[in-house]
Symmetry: C2
Subunit: 413 residues, 2 copies
């Protein structure tokens, strides 16, 4: 599967601390891949709360429907994730697979099926042979141990070229709480959703309601601000689990997202989400450039988002960046097609800190050689100023290369 590691991979992988109340195990169920781990089991202590954000696809996967329904309970004891098969568009079989997986997991973990959360990623439309979990579930429960987040991130990869982990700590009352997150990409990544799969764990004693509040708000500028190809997955799932174990160290129990004591935690959670989201962009299929698109001066932040996404999803902008061409004419095209208020004669465009277009025409003073040198960098920032209002937004994407076409021309076969 995974080809050479993306040149945009983070240079350092953080050491992932254990989260009290969370134990992890990975195994090889042989769902699709041979000779590699493809199942992740996370076990949570009693009292763990859960929140989630899912794809807005009208054709969501069976596990997404399961999680949406079970989220109402607000309690989690285990998470089972498999890679290689998305269990999406699998009809009654899909629902049966999900129920079966939850049953054997709950039986092995000693909890109710409704406290099991599930996610699947991989090919759409193939029935998931859930009976293959039979052979591994008991063993996973027996082996589960704290701190194995990097193994977890490896087990959920599909076309990803590197595992995605992030961690942060925050003060909650007088105690220090810890957040660990994992994520996977790497294609079918688009706006209006969470990312493919991401799981965040913390020992903070936070109610499901408060956690949901933080998560729903937090995705806007993190996972929802990343696009690889504009293609929204059927399986996007972001789940956060809070074990509450830090209450033993004096962390106060938080019921509402509006609780002022949450401020440092909110910030740390946001940092973890932003870090994972950026890693998803860095591992976009075939990506050779990380592209930051900044839009300012729009009539609203919503308008800025739409324009930023029109730019970030434009095949012509993305192929130009792959070709290291500062083709700002295509940026104009993308602004124009977004359907949002824009006045050609007020528009300015920058690549890096060079303004290449100003007030509706080429900036005659710009140095082409300097811009060309800039475009050869692995990380490129493209800024558009509309000059209409104060709406601002930032999204991340990657370039569109021949490798993207190669990867997706023979993924299924």
């Amino acid at each position: 599967m995974a080809s050479a590691v993306s040149p945009l991979a983070p240079k350092k992988v953080p050491t992932m601390p254990a989260i009290a109340g969370v134990r992890l195990a990975t195994g090889a169920a042989g769902i699709k891949y041979k000779g590699r781990t493809d199942v992740l089991l996370a076990l949570f202590d009693k009292g763990t709360t859960v929140a989630g954000v899912f794809t807005r696809s009208k054709c969501p996967s069976a596990p997404v429907e399961w999680c949406r329904a079970k989220l109402k309970g607000g309690k989690a004891r285990a998470l089972v994730v498999n890679s290689g098969n998305a269990n999406a568009f699998t009809g009654k079989n899909g629902r049966a697979s999900v129920a079966y997986t939850a049953k054997i997991a709950s039986s092995a973990a000693g909890c109710k099926p409704g406290e099991i959360f599930l996610a699947s990623t991989g090919v759409i439309g193939e029935p998931l042979p859930a009976e293959r979990f039979d052979g591994v579930m008991e063993g996973l429960v027996a082996q589960a141990a704290p701190g194995r987040f990097l193994d977890a991130a490896n087990a959920i990869m599909t076309t990803d070229t590197f595992p995605k982990v992030a961690t942060a700590t925050a003060k909650l009352g007088e105690a220090t709480v810890t957040i660990c997150g994992v994520a996977k990409g790497a294609g079918m990544i688009a706006p209006d959703m969470a990312t493919m799969l991401s799981f965040i764990f913390t020992d903070a004693p936070i109610s499901a309601e408060a956690l949901q509040g933080l998560l729903s708000k937090g995705v806007t500028d993190t996972f929802n601000a990343v696009t690889i190809d504009g293609d929204t997955s059927t399986s996007d799932t972001l789940l956060a689990f809070a074990t509450g174990a830090a209450a033993a160290q004096g962390a106060p129990r938080i019921e509402k997202a509006s609780d002022r004591r949450l401020a440092p935690f909110r910030e740390a959670l946001h940092a973890v989400m932003a870090d994972l989201a950026e890693q998803v962009a860095r591992d976009g299929e075939g990506a050779r450039k990380l592209v930051e698109v900044i839009v300012e001066g729009a009539t609203s932040s919503k308008s800025a988002r739409r324009i930023a996404m029109a730019i970030a999803n434009s095949p012509l902008v993305k192929t130009a960046i792959a070709g290291e061409d500062a083709n700002w004419g295509r940026v104009v095209m993308a602004v124009g097609k977004a359907g949002e208020p824009a006045d050609r004669d007020k528009l300015s465009i920058w690549f890096g800190d060079t303004r290449v277009a100003h007030r509706g025409m080429r900036d005659s003073t710009y140095d082409e050689a300097k811009v060309s040198a800039y475009m050869r960098r692995p990380e490129v920032t493209l800024k558009v100023a509309l000059g209409l209002g104060t709406g601002r937004d930032r999204v991340l994407t990657c370039d569109l290369t021949k490798e993207y076409v190669t990867i997706n021309g023979d993924y299924r076969s």
Copy 2:
């Protein structure tokens, strides 16, 4: 520039008849290209009416703004088109170039500047050196001759690999009227607009108002039903010119698009538009497959269009087709992301005449070998039945290949 001719090019180029009242000339003004024609001049007899449909881009080119304004007069005496430079996002210079071109063309053709229509295609953001028309305009007027539609189609090509022409005749009253059309693609082609450039000529005596009615309605299922890359151009222009010369053969003068005598003409015009639009899809940048997307059973035709476009613009669907993979899971994804009513458990999908998915899951009876053989064809039809209502639509696109990335990674340089 143009590489090898698209394997999807029509096998036969029709013989293009002259249209009474239309004379054409092409020349080399050296706007960008060297050693090839890059200017088209069409001259029209007095009394020629005109109608047009343009890009919905919020950042349209200077020629688009010019044509929109002049269309109010409803009369045309000449059309000047150049390739190599779009004169888009060129600010005051752009407006000046347009006015200058209209001035020298009107002086050479002996008419008012407001009767000159203009279109430009090529790079965005470069000032158009309109003074280069000085050297060629008088000569073009002198050389203009009937029937040179194939030369005209050649002169307006950019990344197109073949010239696009189409013709038809229709009864109007007792007379036979003729329609000739030319078009160009080949990238930055997307919904919600006309195509890049297309010009249609007829000798039918039709008022500008009636012609506009036919054109505005006709684009819906022709040019607006084609997408190459979802990127809407700043320059899309479709203009139709009716010289009225067939009145001499007894064709009645038509004032309203609702006139019943127009029925055969409407049908012939639609056939020309559909033919040109299909040729645009056949010459999509890097295209190796022509893809027809049919959606039926949607809640409305508008909903069907949105779903069809979500499929036709999906990079993952298009790369799968390039890889000759009947990856219907990605079609499900695209239906799901369209945001339109869809019920996974009622959804069926066909490649050619093989139903691969039925009622929310894989059709267990389908023959993979047969579908694989079908996917190797140069023309592929993909049909989705939603099972919700009677809304139906059809759009054309092409596959997404490495050649698209290559072409667009070094177009400007």
